[in-house]
Amino acid sequence: MKRMAGYEPLPEERLAGLLAELPPAPEGWVQAAAMLPAARRELDRIVTLAEQDAEFRARTLADLESAFRAAGLEPTRALLDAARVRLEGDDRPR
């Protein structure tokens, strides 16, 4: 636990320890999670385009990360997994 110079222990010492229990999450993680609504919108757009254009779909599936980055979004694994499920789900015969 971090100690202050000339600092008397307890009860503030315990409070200090508890404050240290909740460090901030890395900023990039928080931003990526906060951008989820925009990411889902982009995913919907990609899926719609993929339904209309098989070549676009194949190209996008081959490089999903670039597709999201081009839209200014962080391609987290959760987002990429969701995209693959939706795009590959389109493999069923129509």
Binding site: Y7, P11, E12, L18, A20, E21, P23, P24, A25, W29
Partner: protein, 185 residues
């Protein structure tokens, strides 16, 4: 965070209504909690913790409609984070040979208890003035040095220790006030 249960319910309702600013606020409010469970309680590697973190919020976003109690978003997030962290640890054990270091029995529960206490304390922290919140957060949670804090807040380095001491005393009073003068230990 029971005092903010009503606020949580309102926030979840706004998220469900499609208000993107509300979603960003929900992520911001609970990012430390989810992160602490992954990193401190389950001691996940950074790369695994990031996946769990993103998965927790992705599933939360998808399943907001299924929440039975909007005010219970924190326990719901906690349970989801624990479940995904355990899945990640199990997957790691299957892949690694020999398995990653085992955690001592009870260590996770103790860590989760401390995190819950920390969340309660955070609610008391929110009741303090902005300068007090800032200096305590920077020193203890962000682990910044006196020099860094002094530069960021544009105050003399020599006054940081006394500020921290005063603000901790205020925090103790606020926390005890919230908890009916109960000792946090």
């Amino acid at each position: 965070m029971s005092a903010s249960a009503g606020t949580d319910a309102g926030l979840v309702a706004r998220c469900r209504a499609g208000e993107e600013a509300a979603w960003a606020e929900l992520v911001s409010r609970y990012s430390r909690y989810v992160y602490a469970i992954a990193i401190r309680a389950y001691r996940l590697e950074e790369i695994d913790a990031e996946d769990v973190f993103q998965e927790v919020f992705a599933r939360t976003y998808e399943h907001l409609d299924r929440l039975r109690d909007d005010g219970a978003i924190r326990p719901w997030l906690g349970q989801l984070t624990r479940r995904l962290a355990i899945d990640r640890l199990r997957a790691g054990r299957r892949e690694a040979a020999p398995p990653a270091a085992e955690m001592e029995p009870g260590a996770v529960d103790e860590a989760l208890e401390r995190i819950d206490d920390a969340v309660a304390l955070r609610t008391a922290l929110d009741m303090l003035s902005e300068p007090c919140q800032d200096v305590l957060d920077r020193f203890f949670a962000r682990d910044e040095s006196y020099a860094t804090i002094a530069a960021a807040l544009d105050i003399p380095s020599g006054t940081i220790a006394s500020r921290i001491s005063r603000c901790l005393a205020k925090l103790r009073i606020a926390f005890e006030g919230r908890n009916g003068a109960a000792d946090p230990s």
